[in-house]
Symmetry: C2
Subunit: 162 residues, 2 copies
């Protein structure tokens, strides 16, 4: 008797998810670049943080989150963040995080994505849901950066430009 | 000879992706609800659209995009959108779209996700990339809605609240 097994191609592969995330991160980098130095660290609307503060949160979550998912080590990045004083510093930390993500990503085995990770000791969800949160949270804050840029009379980068 | 085939669980299943999207749509619905009637249709920052305009774009893209992916029929929803005059109308159109997505979703076969769809006659990408765009675009504009709410002195819904 012959049996045929059809293995469905997954909707989104591991490589595709990384490419989508790094594409988003590339666009967010352009948003950081689009801010004038002073406004990046000072301009805000409605009592919210300046965009530098949002970008630092994204760095902490991406670098720290990936490190914890892969190694189990919980790091808070206070020193890294407190050293960021300029747009150049912020872009440097952003690029370091890009590298960290690329190093950690291949180390997440296929089953690991479905195992719970108690992210930052607070958010206990399967790793994949934490990673989807990293991406969603970035798109959310980047959208807010677009409003800041528009309010400053600056044209934001095209949303498709990854 | 015995052969063992290990079928890896996909990172994100079709059901999980729908749940993530509908979770996002539920949160966006709360953002629509949080706006006062007048400001929903009039308040803006930096020459951008009021949040009602963004929500109408999301409705068109989600309902029209899913219809095109499943049936191949391209619809523009001018009539639906021009009939929206109040928050209640907008929420009704939002909920109708939620139902449409739930009806169309099971009709997308596993291979279909990887086939090109020339969305709205303009964006020729695999269906899955179009769907990821629907979600990203929603999170992007919802983030902008959060800034509008903060600028109006209104506390937005908690980001985790799906």
């Amino acid at each position: 008797m012959n049996t045929t097994t059809t293995i469905e191609r997954p909707i989104i592969s591991k490589d595709e998810l990384l490419a989508a995330w790094q594409g988003h991160r590339n666009l967010t980098r352009k948003v950081i670049e689009a801010f004038p130095e002073k406004e990046l660290f000072s301009f805000n609307i409605g009592g919210m943080r300046p965009f530098s503060g949002m970008a630092m949160e994204l760095i902490t979550i991406a670098a720290g989150g990936m490190k914890q998912i892969v190694t189990g080590i919980l790091e808070h990045y206070e020193e890294t963040l407190s050293a960021i004083k300029s747009k150049a510093d912020l872009l440097k930390a952003w690029d370091d995080t890009t590298e960290q993500i690329n190093i950690y990503w291949p180390q997440i085995g296929p089953e690991k994505f479905h195992e719970d990770v108690n992210l930052f000791g607070e958010y206990k969800f399967p790793a994949i849901q934490n990673i989807q949160y990293f991406m969603d949270n970035e798109v959310h804050h980047r959208g807010q950066g677009y409003v800041y840029l528009r309010a400053l009379g600056i044209e934001p980068p095209f949303f498709w430009e990854r």
